[in-house]
């Protein structure tokens, strides 16, 4: 005897996408560091910003933070990154 089950899972088919094209160099590039706002994260990101600028020649670093690490980045934060027209964003977690 056959059995018919009702699928209990989320059945949506998700579009697959390739990652954005990688930069071939950081030299002269505009970058963003998105701080997810974990305690102590800014200490790590300050150092990372200095390295990106001094060692790798990044043209500018946009520093931006989520209001809380416990929730997704709100639209305003994403819009600011888009408006800045950076060439790469690093979502940075430090704890």
């Amino acid at each position: 005897m056959s059995t018919t089950l009702v699928n209990p899972l989320d059945e949506r088919v998700r579009p697959q996408a390739n990652p954005a094209q990688r930069l071939d160099t950081l030299q002269g590039k505009r970058l963003a560091l998105l701080d997810i706002s974990k305690p102590g994260g800014s200490i790590f990101l300050d150092r990372l910003e200095a390295l990106l600028t001094e060692r790798y020649g990044a043209a500018s670093i946009l520093r931006i933070a989520k209001p809380t690490f416990a929730k997704p980045a709100p639209d305003e934060v994403l819009a600011k990154i888009r408006e800045a027209q950076v060439q790469a964003t690093i979502e940075a977690l430090a704890d």
């Binding site: 059995t3 009702v6 989320d10 809380t68 416990a70 929730k71």
Partner: protein, 524 residues
């Protein structure tokens, strides 16, 4: 993307007189390059009994170059104007569509996935009546899986625009798919193997069982009650029912599960963050009111244990939905460092009969005579023993050190607490004439961390003392643990014997974290 069972649209040069596998590809797509050579082997396996055809989404020149370099030995059709791509509407390339003799879509997949490729190859062989072939061997040097590229016809310059975003306000979803099992399939093993469940066996969600659940609600099966983060899978009434069946719920539990699903997705609760945290938080459901007796929720002895079907199955249904619809599979989205036994099931009812005060839901403005659900994302319980106290003050003194240790001992202001008071302790408090507010005030006033513990070692909570409030507790200068009396909630639960209580610590709190929410139920 065409659904399984849909009629296969015509493609110039393909007759569909035999079982046919269509493979849409792009010449510059790495996942397509991985897929196409396996189809050469598949064509060899099915011979003249079936057709394997490649559909190029690019022009003849790059297609011929790729065909020569890979090589591609199966027939190639150039999809001029992307007409076939628009008709089949794959989300990504490579895309496989298996078309049966009735010219219906029998199986499909996108991207490169060896398991899917072999599954579809097996289906084609079965339709062709030839021995099963599995062309993609597990250790042949290629990855098991690689995402594909967006299908050409969906690229902005092709005129199709971006795929439509999910309409988060839609109230009507799709009916759930049906899975036909053969007599040879063990339904219990099938559910486990196909990721329907936690590691314990589930009740197979047969159509008949789900129908009984649906009949108990009177709601349309495709009604979307909520979308469960972080994947925002639609919790339709039918999906809730299927997960409830698996959890072992009785049909009458649907009257609780539907509002509970809505409460779970209340943005104040932030289940999105809880699903993804490394912390041990899990949503605890607290049941109040007449529904406790009507559906058999336990509020007495062993209240946190496996003592009542209502508690155990409701909590398991919540967890199955969080995983099956929200996407929080352990080891994937859910990367909790230690986890929480409450992730099997975490439901208690308040022992209102043993409590001298209004029930928990009344703290949120709900009529104490009504049934209600309250949700709180928290750690496992931390036990408190106090067998000698004869007064409220002495008893509550035993609670303060446990409260002081919540989250991390020297972190103040952020943590919140649910204090679950056992009936014997509740009786002691009542004898002393303590109201619920008196209990909360005492705990707030007397829980703190001595300043001498902040000795510059840089530990958690030690660097943020400028935000803390100083106070004196029993002659010792302390930082106050809690931000305010609203950070401490009190309820009564447990059995009649034993002078035990418990404290349950929060996850991230307030508007930037998870807030306790309470929802009334419709009483019968």
């Amino acid at each position: 993307m065409l659904e399984i069972g849909a009629a296969a649209p015509a493609i110039d040069g393909i007759e569909f007189s035999q079982p046919t596998l269509l493979a849409f590809f792009e010449t510059d797509c790495p996942a397509c390059h991985l897929t196409l050579p396996y189809l050469n082997a598949l064509q060899a396996a099915v011979g003249e009994k079936a057709v394997v055809a490649a559909i190029s989404q690019d022009s003849a020149c790059p297609t011929e170059a790729l065909a020569k370099s890979l090589p591609i030995e199966i027939p190639i059709h150039i999809d001029r104007g992307l007409a076939a791509s628009r008709a089949y509407d794959p989300l990504a390339a490579p895309a496989l569509f298996l078309v049966d003799r009735g010219r219906r879509i029998a199986a499909e997949s996108t991207g490169f996935d060896k398991a899917e490729l072999n599954r579809i190859a097996g289906r084609l062989c079965a339709l062709a009546g030839v021995p099963a072939a599995a062309p993609a061997a597990p250790h042949d040097g290629n990855p098991q899986w690689k995402p594909g590229c967006v299908s050409r016809h969906r690229e902005p310059e092709s005129g199709a625009g971006d795929p439509a975003p999910v309409d988060v306000h839609a109230q009507r979803g799709q009916r759930a798919g049906r899975v036909e099992l053969s007599a040879a399939d063990d339904p219990y093993e099938y559910c486990y193997e196909h990721g329907f469940a936690d590691p314990l066996p589930v009740v197979p969600p047969t159509v008949e069982r789900v129908e009984r659940m649906l009949a108990a609600t009177g709601l349309p099966p495709e009604r979307i009650v909520a979308r469960i983060p972080p994947n925002f899978g639609a919790a339709t009434v039918e999906k809730i029912a299927a997960n409830a069946v698996m959890a072992g719920c009785r049909p009458e539990m649907m009257r609780v599960l539907v509002p509970l699903t809505r409460a779970l997705c209340d943005e104040r609760l932030d289940i999105h963050g809880v699903q993804g945290t490394t912390h041990s938080a899990a949503p605890l459901v607290i049941v109040n009111g007449p529904v406790r007796g009507q559906l058999g929720f336990a509020s007495g002895s062993n209240v946190f244990s496996n003592t009542a079907r209502a508690n155990s199955t409701l909590g398991r249904a919540v967890q199955l939905m969080l995983r099956n619809l929200g996407g929080a599979a352990p080891g994937e989205i859910d990367m909790s460092t230690l986890g929480n036994p409450g992730k099997f099931s975490y439901v208690i009812a308040e022992n209102e009969e043993a409590g001298p005060w209004a029930p928990l839901c009344a703290d949120f403005g709900i009529d104490p005579r009504r049934s209600a659900l309250t949700l709180y994302c928290c750690e496992p319980p931390r036990g408190i023993s106090e067998h000698a106290a004869r007064t409220a003050e002495v008893l509550l003194r035993a609670f303060c050190p446990v409260l002081a240790n919540l989250w991390s001992r020297r972190v103040c202001r952020a943590p919140e607490a649910l204090v679950v008071i056992g009936p014997e302790h509740a009786a002691t408090l009542k004898r002393s004439g303590f109201s619920k507010n008196d209990v909360v005030s005492y705990l707030y006033e007397n829980t703190g961390i001595p300043l001498c513990e902040y000795d510059g070692d840089g530990g958690e909570g030690a660097k943020t003392t400028q935000r803390y409030e100083e106070c004196m507790i029993r002659g010792v200068r302390c930082y106050r643990k809690f931000n305010g009396t609203e950070s401490i909630r009190v309820m009564v639960a447990g059995g009649p014997a034993g002078k035990f209580s418990a404290v349950l610590g929060s996850w991230q709190t307030g508007r930037r974290g998870s807030q306790m929410v309470s929802y009334p139920l419709d009483d019968e």
